[in-house]
Amino acid sequence: MKKVEIITRTFKLDDVKAALSEIGIKGMTVSEVKGFGRQGGHKEVYRGAEYQVDFVVKVKVEVVVEDSVVPDVIKAATTAARTGQVGDGKIFVVPVEEVVRIRTGETGDAAV
């Protein structure tokens, strides 16, 4: 099992979710994050004091899937999230050694 972490633009979340659903993904977990990268941030000004804010709001989607599905997930997410502009984000794949469904106690593939 692998965990695929997709970090991308907030307004692409719906598209990514739809693309993943389409390839049969039944569950995922999403969190709001702030990213620092090549995209750069923005300036904010309060009563004349200027602040450079380096962090950009992003969304992180985590999907745990069987190993064999990983390439499909990457493909679907890449396609859905790409705008071609700097700041589209990253995908990271992390190994997962065990999965449990809390409700039933099922483990492994049956649990995702």
Binding site: E44, V45, Y46, R47, G48, A49, E50, Y51, V53
Partner: protein, 400 residues
């Protein structure tokens, strides 16, 4: 006694009361969220604390019969003799109505100071300082200007509190920054308002209440009040505009915080002259007020003192400009300024400005030092890190 004047002054008093919690929201919105409650609390509890102190002894010190131009006598201690019939300051409204209208001014003035030491003040020290300051700085100031004291006798014009309210609180604010120093991380970390919609709400409540503040100061529902109402509104409007145009030029974009700050700056600037100038000079006073206060706030960054929420920049500079402008543009009834052929008024205004700053700064400095040396003013480093909401009050502002 006149029902219309009574109705007007009572409603105006309610409006002015609303300003102080509004100021709490205004100030509280501009600090970091870990200090939001502590900041709001200072304004809110001042309504409690000062109102009681005022009824007990503040009112009589300010408005008791004059003793040598310096202070009121104790005739009205515990509001003794302040009743439902007219008092010495107006024939047309109950003495109680005048007292409570003035009470609201005594409440908001020390609340203004809290913007200077926001995010680092101990609650206990704050209560003690405020109590002392009310009796030692505010009550005399109010007496000198409105209680037939020496400033009134020399002919200084201060319609609704340029000196009594704004310069006095700004001078105390300056003293606070001197005694207490900067917030941890000031100049290195970002100090960004945490809730600007609440800032606008606070500014709106202030603007709304300021009609009571200025028009109510006419103490009658007449043309004089209508004029003060109009000048108040137009100066605020003009200063909101001039502040954001300055921003636009300076950093490329106008801001919402700038519009709110500008409006307050305009309200401050027109306060001393609201009842003495007409509409067009009021617009000018507002326009210039916005420019001056914006510049003063910018300057703070360069001078490097930490007046957290710009009490000096807005109330000090705006109030001073307003007092001077009154000496220039006054033109109603017996109040005549330089441009209406009476240069001496300007000198009187300048003298009252200088005296107000000097007295209030020195007295406040002494009081801050005193409290600092005894029960302490400044929260510990660890308390400041955790935030004053938790460290002073065991609460947090927002829960997810």
């Amino acid at each position: 006694m006149n029902g219309a004047d009574t109705a007007f002054v009572l409603i105006c008093a309610a409006l002015v009361m609303f300003m102080t919690p509004g100021l709490g929201l205004f100030y509280g919105s501009m600090v970091r969220s870990k200090n939001v409650l502590a900041t709001i609390m200072q304004s809110f509890i001042i309504v409690g604390l000062v109102s009681v102190l005022w009824a007990v002894a503040g009112y009589t010190l300010a408005f008791g019969k004059d003793i040598g131009g310096v202070i009121g006598n104790l005739d009205f201690l515990f509001l003794n003799g302040v009743g439902m019939t007219a008092g010495p300051y107006s024939d047309t409204i109950p003495h109680l109505a005048f007292m409570i209208f003035q009470c609201m001014f005594a409440v908001i003035t020390p609340a203004l100071i809290t913007g200077a030491f926001a995010e680092r003040m101990k609650f206990g020290g704050f209560l003690v300082f405020t109590t002392l300051w009310l009796f030692i700085v505010y009550a005399p100031m109010a007496h000198w200007v409105w209680g037939k004291g020496w400033m009134a006798q020399m002919g200084a014009l201060d319609f609704a509190g340029g000196a009594v309210v704004h310069m006095s609180s700004a001078a105390a604010a300056l003293a606070a920054t001197v005694v207490m120093g900067k917030r941890k991380g000031y100049g290195r970390m970002a100090f960004i308002p945490h809730n600007l919609p609440m800032t606008v709400l606070g500014a709106a409540i202030l603007w709304f209440g300021w009609f009571g503040f200025n028009a109510g100061s006419a103490l009658a529902a007449d043309g004089f009040a209508a004029n003060a109402f109009v000048t108040t509104h137009l100066a605020a409007a003009a200063a909101a505009l001039s502040w954001i145009f300055m921003e636009w030029r300076h950093s490329g974009k106008p801001t919402t915080l700038g519009a709110a700050s500008g409006a307050v700056a305009g309200l401050v600037a027109i306060t001393p002259g609201a009842g003495f100038v007409t509409a067009m000079p009021a617009i000018l006073i507002g326009l210039v007020g916005g420019v001056l206060c914006f510049s003063a706030v910018l300057l703070k960054g360069k001078l490097g003192y930490d007046d957290s929420l710009d009490v000096v920049g807005v109330h000090g500079v705006g109030g001073t400009w307003g007092a001077i402008a009154t000496g220039l543009f006054a033109s109603i009834n017996k109040a005549q300024g330089l441009f209406y052929g009476n240069p001496s008024q300007l000198w009187i205004q300048l003298a009252s400005v200088a005296a107000t700053w000097a007295f209030c700064f020195v007295a406040s400095l002494v009081l801050f030092k005193l409290v600092d040396a005894t029960i302490g003013l400044r929260a510990s480093d660890e308390e400041e890190d955790r935030g004053l909401d938790l460290s002073q009050h065991n609460e947090t502002g927002y829960q997810a």
